[in-house]
Amino acid sequence: MTVKAVERPKRTLATQIYLIEVWKGLAITFRHLFVNLYRHLLRRPDASVTIQYPEDPAVLGRRARTRHRLLKRDDGAPRCTACLLCETICPAKCIRITAENAPDAMIEKRAKTFQIDLGMCVYCGYCVEACPVDAIHMDADDVDTSRYSRKDMIWDMAELMGDKPKRPSAPVADR
């Protein structure tokens, strides 16, 4: 069993008076306050855990679900066989796939177009789970997906495979 039973702390007169416990709590917060202020004065980086995001890069967990990525075969062709399992399971209904015949008879079918509307995606990761050929991953480590128009939130196949950089449709002021 991984359950660890923790004994409930006993109520004593000292805890019932409450003032002593308040003082203990204040001691902790005061210590943090003054230690951090001292570190801020010395401009030490450990003064806070805040990541100043747009200036400093975001630190993502290893298993973070980020923007989708379509994978390729060894010969550079897309792995996706257009089985539509991801489109079917997607709870946000934000994947659009059209299929075509693949030149390789063993593969039979491949995606002609593949679009994900990141403006609707809920980042549930079901598409990754559903894919039988491991063609779609959510590990692009890209979280700057917001754009100025809904249209720009839709990523097409080349962009998802990394063959074409994502550019805004209309010129907008560089921020």
Partner: protein, 344 residues
């Protein structure tokens, strides 16, 4: 009262109110930064003017601009004119208290005596407490006038809590005022100047008063009337500057509580070892500085408590007020009274 006195009083009242308003604005910044630093964060630092950020000090300014320019949405369910009056009443009580605090004593300058307390009154302490208690009307009125059940419940919680703590607030001061033998701030300070700071004689009353004071000002751990994140509070139907007035009122009431504490427990404008009233203009400046420093230190302590303790449950809060603070402060009063009787 001659002409100079009248002008001087107006100037002092304006200065007292400005003191409170500015510190209230500053508290918005302190609140963010202090909580951030003690939680290993940085805190709001993005508001800038021409690229200067100065530790996020422009955020209160940005807040004020936002509050003033925001749409003042009034739902059709509200009860007018109570809905509009409520924030004015809540804030009016706080403003009045600010004008009655003893920022300094009386100094000799240019051949006449200048008193540094804006509104002088022989019953200053009960006056401030009464004006502070007036704030509960604003809260109840806001809750009722919202025409919303959430606002109503928040107002009721606010009323129950503020009455419970207001009673303790006054009764915890009883022993101290008995000791000073006066209701006047200046005479209380004079007594402390002759003997010792009030906190030496009444440490229990100090704790009781600060606790009840935190409850009266509706700040965490006693912020049940508004319950910013979980339960909706009495100002749910307010937006724009009307909401801002409730916000500022909380800060101003904290300043008043700290001001009264400083005046009655921490020697007011006294600086140990210095005879300020005889030092002329310099003495006056030092009086103001001493009082301000004491108030700021108390505010710092209250702010730290606010960010350290979790919110009380409502029954715990009422228990604390009626079953613990009130008996303790009455006991404190009895013991003090007997002590004074035997001592004399």
């Amino acid at each position: 009262m001659n002409f100079v006195d009248a002008i001087w009083t107006v100037v002092k009242v304006a200065a007292g109110v400005a003191f409170g308003m500015n510190i209230a604005g500053l508290l918005g910044w302190v609140e963010r930064k202090q909580s951030a630093v003690m939680q290993d964060r940085i805190g709001a630092n993005r508001a800038d003017i021409f690229g200067f950020r100065i530790l996020g000090l422009f955020h209160p300014l940005a807040d004020a601009i936002k509050m003033l320019t925001k749409e003042d949405f009034v739902s059709s369910s509200v009860v007018q004119p109570l809905h509009t009056i409520a924030p004015v009443i809540a804030m009016g009580g706080g403003l009045f208290c600010l004008a009655a605090l003893p920022y300094g004593g009386t100094i000799q300058f240019l051949g006449r005596a200048w008193s540094l307390q804006p509104l002088e009154c022989s019953c200053g302490v009960p006056l401030v407490l009464a004006a502070l208690a007036f704030g509960v009307h604003g809260v109840m009125m806001a809750g009722y006038a919202s025409g919303s059940n959430y606002g109503m419940l928040g107002g009721l919680r606010g009323a129950a809590q503020m009455v419970a703590s207001e009673v303790c607030l006054a009764s915890s001061l009883a022993g101290l005022l008995f000791l000073y033998g006066t209701l006047d701030f200046q005479q209380a300070v004079a007594w402390q100047s002759a003997h010792a700071w009030g906190i030496v004689f009444q440490p229990l009353a100090f704790i009781l008063f600060l606790t009840a004071g935190a409850a009266v000002t509706k700040r965490t751990p006693f912020d049940l009337p508004e319950g910013e994140s979980e339960i909706v509070g009495f100002h749910v139907e307010y937006s724009g500057m009307k909401f801002g007035m409730f916000l500022i009122t909380d800060f101003m009431e904290s300043i008043v509580i700290c001001g009264v504490t400083a005046a009655l427990f921490l020697g007011g404008w006294l600086i140990p070892g210095l005879d300020l009233p005889s030092m002329g203009l310099l003495g006056g400046v030092l009086m103001l500085a001493s009082f301000t420093v004491k108030v700021l230190a108390l505010l710092f302590l209250l702010m730290q408590i606010r960010w350290t303790l979790p919110r009380f449950r409502f029954d715990q809060l009422l228990d604390l007020g009626w079953k613990n603070l009130l008996p303790l402060s009455l006991l404190n009063f009895l013991v003090t009274a007997w002590g004074i009787y035997l001592w004399r």
